[in-house]
Amino acid sequence: MDPVVKPRDDLSRLSYRDLIAVSSEMLQWIPWSSHGMTWVETGVFAWNDAKLKEKKTMKKHIATLLLALTFLPCVSSAALNLELTRGTNAKIPVAVLPFAWHGTQKQPPLKLSDIIQHDLYLSGRFQLANAQGTTAKPLPNKVADINFADWRKQGLNSLVLGALQAQGDNQYQVRFSLVNLFKNKQQIAPQSSDNAGFNPQNNPVLASNVFTVKTAQLHDAAHRIANQVYQQLIGSPGFFTSKIAYVLVKKKTGQTRQYSLMVANFDGSDPQTVLSSSQPIMSPAWSPDRKTLAYVSFQTGVPAIYTFDLIHETRRLIASYAGINGAPAWSPDGKKLAIVLSKSSNAKIYQLDLSNGRLTQLTFGWASDTKPSWSPDGASLVFTSNRSGTPQIYQLNLASKQVTKLSLRGIYNVDPAFSPDGQSVVFIHQRATAYDVVIKNLNTKKMRYLTRGQMADSPSFSPNGGEVIYSVLINGQSRLALITLSGNVQELLPAKSGDRVEPAWS
């Protein structure tokens, strides 16, 4: 079946200001091929099914995911749900209905609707209704069965519905539709070739698709459906297929530990071990094309910077000078790494040209400089330095060589990261005994707390800049947490044993 959705540019009937900003260009429909998936973000998909998969069986992944899902919030209440209410942005009211299941097993292998719902919830942009509480029973799983007026009465504006059908051989057909309840149901695009009188602008189906996936891709498929929904309703790409990298530290006998470089879905599901070592692993950083990770390993007893190509599973030694080799950060064009070396004095920031190996020192003086982060235009770097006596955040203009102090309050400001739009910088700010994530707007110069009274570390932006991931100490365990910039949604990612530190979001 071909996608029935056509590009559209009329959202004027929706009163939410979030929707009004949508441009037709952003809504360009990209058809998925009927036999598989032609994803928009090819970089991510390319290595998702590449050899990265560990020796662990797929069953185990599913089991882990299912386990994780049992802890996921049912939107209104859950143990791990730290939802705050100080958000001011209007949320779009949406319901994700349970997908119909057609198969020999009693239960579907995965509750796709739960994953989609959770994704949308985490973005902080949607008010998710509990479909169980509605009067419409049985729940519709075809657009034709929807009573638009009934659902509108629930205060809803859009519905996501779909079905999952087993096709044998670990293969499933997934179908979904996103329906605008404020359109006229009678305007659904005709399935026949007779398109006379059909005006796509009036089509209540905003997005819809049918595709076939293997068991292992099911949960990726759910994230991709969430991306479609986000794209249609918000007007910018969803980030639900993005990945995070982090370091997992597990305590072994005595004081020995196992350090693992991990890659997982942004919600912490499907964690994959890239490599493990009994010696420290630090500072994972994604290349802009999301195919390579730079990181620091102490495996020889001293730190060295490596890159690991996730597609070809090849490792490359980048720097192993005397002293510190640390905190790699890719330039936006992917051609350079900003790195920290102490080969000639204290820690200094250098630029390494990956094509010719040329090393250029960028910061000077007696102080320790570390944790560089590039501005998206590549024209400047923010970093931590103790040049004023305490660690503070500075910005280096690469053309003028001018260094400006950005953090103006406190005696401990560390770990800066530039936002994808280049307008702000997040960092860790110590106040009393707390280490909180703060955001500084570089235009207004205003600083704002994203977290309050936490033990936070290593903040990193989501690809769309709407959220920040960081590590936080909870009951003696380092966990990963997400927070939206509006502060209206905050959630701990699922974690079993071990500490999860230094997250980086692709």
């Binding site: 007893g301 204290n346 660690p391 401990y412 280490y435 290593s458 003696g476």
Partner: protein, 162 residues
């Protein structure tokens, strides 16, 4: 801060001139810092001399400081004399921090601690090529919940050749 370290070091060097021993010290066995634990001859401290002051291999700092504590001077001086007397001996100075604060910044804190020990030893007669440093920062620190921060704010002195 480094200036203070140097100043401190210079003062110590001057005061140590008159009584500097010329051979590896046969120490008197006093405890140099309050939290020094007796070392067994296994693990990473196995190599090298263990008599008296030379058995002191861990040097504790105040946790918000990279300034070499005075309590470390005597034992570090003894190690420096040992290195001076045995040019083939090599040591690695490993800097550590507590788990508090930034992983990346703590790497630089651990290095400044290791460097303050290195500078002291170089000024006390060890050759620079005998001394290497590595900072582990907080990567091997106790969890903060165990409240053992003080044990993590230190430099370990490891003989890699003796």
């Amino acid at each position: 801060m480094k200036h203070y370290v140097l100043l401190g070091v210079v003062v110590v060097v001057l005061s140590a001139c008159a009584k500097r021993p010329t051979a590896p010290v046969q120490g008197v066995g006093q405890v140099v810092t309050s939290s020094v634990m007796p070392l067994t001859s296994n693990g990473k401290f196995a190599l090298g001399p263990h008599q008296g002051l030379l058995n002191t291999r861990q040097f504790y700092f105040r946790c918000n400081s990279t300034l070499l504590p005075k309590a470390a001077y005597a034992a570090l001086d003894a190690h420096a004399q040992y290195l001076k007397a045995d040019p083939s001996a090599r040591i690695e100075l490993q800097g550590f921090t507590s788990a508090k604060g930034s992983h990346e910044y703590n790497i630089t804190v651990g290095e400044r601690r290791a460097n303050s020990v290195k500078d002291f030893m170089a000024l006390h007669g060890a050759r620079v090529e005998q001394l290497t440093t590595v900072s582990y920062g907080e990567e091997q620190a106790y969890p903060l919940s165990e409240r053992k921060d003080a044990q993590d704010c230190r430099v370990d002195l490891i003989y890699t050749a003796a």
